[in-house]
Symmetry: C2
């Protein structure tokens, strides 16, 4: 539990959380966090989110091994968004790229590939 | 209009957009964008968002002068989150800090102050 900032989880109980590589500064992904996922993150030091599609607690890298070791959790001025500063194992994106933000809005690929998804997700 | 990636604006017509300083890599803020705001951003080169509280198009820095010149707009793998790479005039946060993410979840201030809000927001 956090004794610090009172997070505004809103009507749906979720806030967006941005994961940023603590060393390179690259923005890796955006996912959603509820109180349970934040507590799990703070207690374990591994990034947890709440999967909206599966409606369950989700440890990033739980199946792929591409965990995020959380160095710091920041909160924005309105306390309704989080920033995870992480040490990313492998790559953040299930497509094999380091970052989920590997394309421009025009469709140009600008990101770096980190792994072969066929070798990681074998189910 | 974008000829590229088809953004999934979801049921409420909004996606979260992360603004990142293109030079320093600092994550500056998170706000929400609808199709109108994305078009305005791409057409003007200045970051626009949709204010959820005022339910209207919002040009960042329209009153403060702290505009964000957008160098690139990226989209994530699910096409339901955006990343604005920006050149931030002044500071992003209305509190005077460079970034809205200037506190840890424990309440420790870790960000840098960029301006005096009393001199910028004089209404």
């Amino acid at each position: 539990m956090s004794d610090g900032v009172d997070i505004d989880f809103g009507e749906d109980g979720l806030v967006p959380a941005v994961a940023q590589d603590a060393d390179s500064g690259e923005v890796l992904m955006l996912a959603y966090v509820d109180a349970e996922a934040l507590d799990a993150t703070l207690e374990s030091g591994l990034a947890h989110y709440h999967s909206r599609s599966r409606d369950e607690l989700w440890q990033k890298g739980g199946s792929s091994g591409h965990v995020q070791r959380v160095e710091e959790v920041r909160v924005d001025c309105d306390a309704d968004a989080l920033l995870y500063l992480v040490d990313q194992e492998g790559g953040a994106c299930h497509t094999g790229y380091e970052s989920c933000f590997h394309r421009t809005v025009d469709g140009e690929v600008v990101g770096e590939e980190a792994f072969d998804p066929d070798e990681v997700y074998n189910d």
